[in-house]
């Protein structure tokens, strides 16, 4: 029995917090950490994540094998594609991990500005849900790179998701973006109320801050925890530090942490790799914590029973 497929939306309503960079590289780190089959889908019509793997002209050419096919229900009775029909394998390792990628498409922009509720959007959403059912059967983790607004495609992604990875830069504004998601959208998506299913990952933290700067960072984090106490248990301890390595795009077909760099810069790359590895460890544990695995479920049930006995709420029948 394997863990429930985790469908994670990488999302923050504030732009520029590093959603795309983190989505790709965390998927890669998750696959490195444990044997997992991971699917990444670029739902952003700007296709920034796709540019990591394809040159721009190739993205336009791949329109027939892009994420748009997961929504395109114009041909009635047309079955949604299988992920294998439209994805590209971008990473494999000896452990048996695999990362597949479905390219974004500029055509999703038309969908993004669609007003939900009409017949066509309903059909598109149904088509997407059918596709996701197939994806859940084939993968352990599915990750969506979303755009920074609550558009149709983003709402479809949240509908299909059961986990939120929300990158923030350490300021109140980007946490406000997550607060908007969890407070406003929680009526439509009640799972957002469960702190176990939301993880907030701080990005662009200075690598070697001066003592006052480090103190300020600590103070800022505490302020954020006080301002949004319900989000406090979701703030990850692992952090992604600022690095010039993440500024530059890797050559097409490679994740940033797989870049070949001059020996002089290799230590920087190793540090970034360590950051993503720490984040992947914490995320995997969080996912198991939220959904349980075969052992975890039974252990949790036993622990729950033990607690009830200890509190005197439950007595053995003699």
């Amino acid at each position: 029995m394997r863990m429930t497929t985790v469908v994670a939306a990488v999302m923050n309503l504030k732009g520029g917090v590093g959603k795309t960079t983190l989505c790709g590289n965390i998927a890669r780190a998750l696959a490195d950490r444990e044997a997992k089959k991971i699917l990444i889908m670029d739902l952003d019509s700007q296709c920034n994540l796709s540019q990591l793997f394809f040159p721009p002209e190739e993205i336009d050419r791949r329109s027939k094998r892009s994420v748009y096919q997961c929504f395109d229900s114009r041909q009635f009775l047309k079955e949604p594609p299988y992920p294998a029909d439209i994805c590209l394998n971008v990473f494999n390792n000896d452990k048996g991990s695999r990362v597949d990628f479905i390219c974004g498409s500029a055509e999703t922009f038309g969908l993004a500005i669609t007003v939900p509720g009409g017949l066509l959007p309903q059909a598109a959403q149904q088509h997407f849900n059918d596709f996701m059912r197939k994806a859940r059967e084939s993968y352990d983790i599915v990750m969506f790179d979303t755009n920074p607004s609550a558009t149709f495609t983003t709402l479809c992604a949240l509908e299909a998701s059961n986990f939120l990875i929300a990158p923030i830069t350490m300021d109140v504004f980007s946490l406000r973006g997550i607060h908007l998601i969890t407070r406003t959208l929680c009526r439509k998506f009640p799972w957002l109320n469960n702190a176990k299913q939301v993880r907030i990952l701080a990005n662009r933290i200075p690598r070697s801050p001066s003592a006052p700067e480090a103190e300020r960072l600590r103070r800022d984090e505490n302020t954020i925890r006080q301002l949004y106490p319900d989000l406090s248990p979701s703030i990850m301890v692992s952090r992604i530090h600022e690095s010039k390595m993440l500024w530059h795009k890797a050559p097409h077909g490679k994740f940033v942490i797989d870049r070949e760099v001059h020996a002089f810069h290799r230590h920087r790359l190793l540090k970034i790799k360590e950051d993503f590895d720490q984040a992947a460890r914490e995320l995997l544990l969080s996912m198991k914590d939220a959904f349980g695995d075969a052992d975890g479920n039974s252990q949790n049930s036993l622990d729950a029973l033990r607690r009830l006995f200890a509190q005197g709420d439950l007595r053995p029948v003699v």
Partner: protein, 143 residues
Amino acid sequence: MLCAGCSRKAIYGLWSDLKTLSAEDLEAELDRLDGHLAAALANKLANKLERPTAPKRKGKAKKSVVMPKDDLPATRIAFELTNIHGLSEAQAITALSQALLHNGVSASKLPDDKGQRLADWLEALLDHVPGSVVMDAALKAAR
């Protein structure tokens, strides 16, 4: 020294006075002024001491907390417990274990704490419990 302390006009006045004196006269004059000069200097010093001065600004007494060099999860949690909240390593392990158990974390996930350093204990803990859960429990435990 004179040039540094006096104006050009004062030095010129002094020279005008002195140039008319012979060496013996100058010697005699200095002997005469010796007592006066000492008294004048003492007077000036007393005035300076009595003059009220603006109170010195006192800066806020800042806690000198040295932040940890590395920003790894275990280091940050340990720093929060020991340096910020002043718990000893053993106290930190006990308090954190209790807080985690209270939050519903399984006892089987807590590493054995016999003779372990806090950082090592936390590193072992973070292999089984998500860091966000540990940090949240640590902050509550320290309060």
